[in-house]
């Protein structure tokens, strides 16, 4: 099974252009900040938002192609969608919610109810058949939503921020169950999220979407190890710098120079882990090739480790202990010397 899509949607202020090929062997997470177009992408694949250009095809069958005038409406795409708030029908009980899709597909009433009952049991809600959505907890509602989408045995499963509406404690439990269901599902699986942890745990492949464009696409570890945008870098908690490499020197776009261990040429991205950044009161002498002076901008308390943001020729974040901060009397406005070993910098082509 293969989903092949080139999605071009211009809606509101968003210009979404995404090319995506997804088989049934991987779970894809589309990750990005709010407003990136993730939900629009999902809705476009489901047929809820018409394409302005491009196409959507499943196993060679064209579901949508504006230029050819082809459009298969959502009700005939046979895709299961789990929405962010569950979107259970408030006037129907849990069982009727799950049976809804079967009912629409012509399954006789009794059989539909039986299958729905089985699915409710599978998501751990046996006995709650007649419960109205408003009496269900967030986690329970999301489980019913999942059962409802899976009950129609779709070929494609789309999940829109499935855990976003849940509180932290429920999230972990539902995430575990979701992982199992995703693993057991035969078909194309795509989920949309703004939570990198969710993406990392649930997906085999991550596609970063920012302002309507794909910025990165690869295994979760790769994406965080080699972020290609500020947003991902921030998410991964690393320093990301951009510049032009000439051998072992990188001329940074913002000014300043870095010395790295691996020579390279051309546009590069350089990653520096905050814990590899050292701070000094006086200019350090020693092996670090990258030394400069800056001014403390802010200090973020993260418990036993503190993140010190230093401005200057090369803005950077350092992670140090509380004791170190006290000993160096670090505070906003204080001048410090920053040192980074060349071997602690990872660079890769932009």
């Amino acid at each position: 099974m293969r989903l092949d899509a080139r999605v071009h949607v211009a809606i509101g202020g968003l210009d979404l252009r995404v090319e995506l090929v997804l088989g049934d062997d991987q779970v894809l997470a589309v990750l990005g900040p709010n407003g990136a177009g993730k939900t629009t992408l999902l809705r476009a694949l489901a047929g809820l938002v018409p394409l302005d250009g491009g196409h959507v095809a499943l196993d060679g069958v064209v579901l949508e192609d504006p230029r050819a005038g082809a459009f298969v409406p959502p009700e005939r795409r046979h895709m299961g969608v789990v929405f962010q708030d569950g979107l259970l029908f408030p006037h129907l009980g849990a069982l009727d919610n799950v049976a809804f899709g079967l009912h629409c597909r012509g399954v006789p009433r009794a059989a539909a109810r039986e299958r729905a009952r089985a699915w409710l049991a599978r998501v751990g809600l046996a006995g709650r058949e007649s419960a109205r959505p408003r009496t269900l907890s967030g986690g329970e509602a999301q489980r019913v939503a999942l059962a409802r989408a899976l009950a129609i045995e779709p070929t494609v499963l789309l999940l829109d921020e499935p855990l976003a509406a849940l509180d932290v404690s429920t999230r972990a439990a539902v995430r575990r169950e979701l992982t199992e269901h995703l693993r057991g599902f035969r078909g194309v699986r795509l989920l949309v999220t703004h939570d990198p942890l969710e993406a990392a745990i649930l997906a085999d492949r991550v596609m970063i979407l920012e302002s309507g464009r794909v910025v990165q696409d690869g295994p979760p570890a790769d994406v965080t190890a080699r972020p290609r945008s500020r947003w991902v870098a921030d998410l991964a908690g690393v320093n990301l710098l951009r510049g032009t490499a000439h051998g072992e020197r990188i001329e940074l776009g913002m000014g300043g120079t870095l010395v790295v261990a691996e020579p390279a040429d051309g546009e590069v991205l350089a990653v520096v882990r905050p814990r590899a950044v050292t701070l000094h009161r006086v200019r350090p002498a020693g092996s670090p090739r990258n030394v400069w002076q800056g001014e403390v901008v802010s200090i973020d308390d993260e418990g036993s480790r503190l993140r010190v943001s230093v401005g200057g020729p090369i803005p950077i974040v350092a992670e140090v202990t509380r004791g170190a901060v006290a000993e160096l009397s670090l505070a906003p406005g204080v001048l410090v010397w920053v040192a980074v070993k060349a071997t602690d910098i990872t660079s890769y082509p932009a």
Partner: protein, 263 residues
């Protein structure tokens, strides 16, 4: 711990009492002057029975037409985006603001025997609406349908379209979505709208008498019968008024405080 409510200022109370009296006193007067002993004979007369039966038939028919035509109209107004939508919405609300007699005159110009459409109806189909029960139904529909459309449109706007999206992804076509999701969710407001529509149709006078005439057994609905009876047989007029009052109270009880839109 119960919270103490701030006392209502005295002048407000006084005005409120006056306001309430304005509504209560006429009803008290009506009940007080009802000829209770002669009620049965007053109501049992063939004219009264005919008027009552006609009123029920016409108002229920008008409500049915309002529902059949009003549901799609409300849906289009609530959901479809087309040029001139604001104008259409304003026009469908017009009969609420228009004096009923003016409505009757307007209906005459359109559907009267010499009217725009009426002329064609008469010549091509031999169909006439004036002085017929159908004409009375048309007049009542004209004044009452906007209430229904107003209530339903508000309800439809309140239904989360994302729920409809969910239904579509599950395999429901547009009509199924409307029938299984939108309508059930809007149902309470639809019911209230229909009830309000029925009440308005039942009480219609000006448009009916102008357009459909005052023919006993055909177009002389209860309000018209009251008006005619008042001059010669006031007791009958008051008795019939009481019937309408009882029906009105029944409608209010049925609505149970829910009006055009939010509960």
């Amino acid at each position: 711990m119960t919270r103490r409510r701030a006392p209502v200022p005295r002048p407000a109370v006084a005005l409120a009492v006056l306001g309430a009296a304005l509504f209560v006193l006429p009803l008290v007067g009506l009940v007080a002057r009802t000829p209770w002993t002669a009620l049965a004979s007053a109501l049992g007369s063939p004219e009264a029975m005919a008027a009552l039966r006609l009123s029920l038939v016409c108002s229920l028919s008008a409500t049915a037409v309002s529902v059949v035509l009003g549901l799609p109209l409300a849906w289009v107004q609530a959901r479809a985006a087309f040029p001139g939508r604001a104008l259409v919405r304003a026009l469908t609300m017009l009969p609420i603001v228009l004096p009923p007699v003016v409505g009757g005159v307007a209906l005459l110009t359109a559907f009267g025997r010499r009217g725009l459409v009426g002329r064609w109806l008469d010549e091509a189909l031999g169909v006439r609406l004036g002085f017929t029960t159908a004409g009375a139904v048309l007049a009542e529909t004209f004044v009452a349908m906007p209430f229904f459309v107003l209530a339903v449109e508000a309800a439809l706007r309140g239904v989360d379209t994302r729920l409809e999206d969910a239904a579509r992804t599950l395999g429901a076509g547009r009509w199924r979505v409307f029938r299984l999701v939108t309508l059930p969710l809007a149902a309470p407001a639809v019911g209230a709208g229909a009830l309000l529509c029925w009440a308005r149709a039942l009480g219609e006078f000006g448009a009916t008498i102008t357009f459909a005439g005052n023919m006993p057994g055909r177009t002389q609905t209860l309000p018209l019968a009251v008006y005619v009876a008042l001059e010669s047989r006031p007791e009958a007029g008051i008795a019939l008024s009481l019937v309408l009052l009882v029906l009105a109270v029944a409608v209010l009880v049925g609505l149970r405080g829910r009006w055009l839109g939010a509960p």
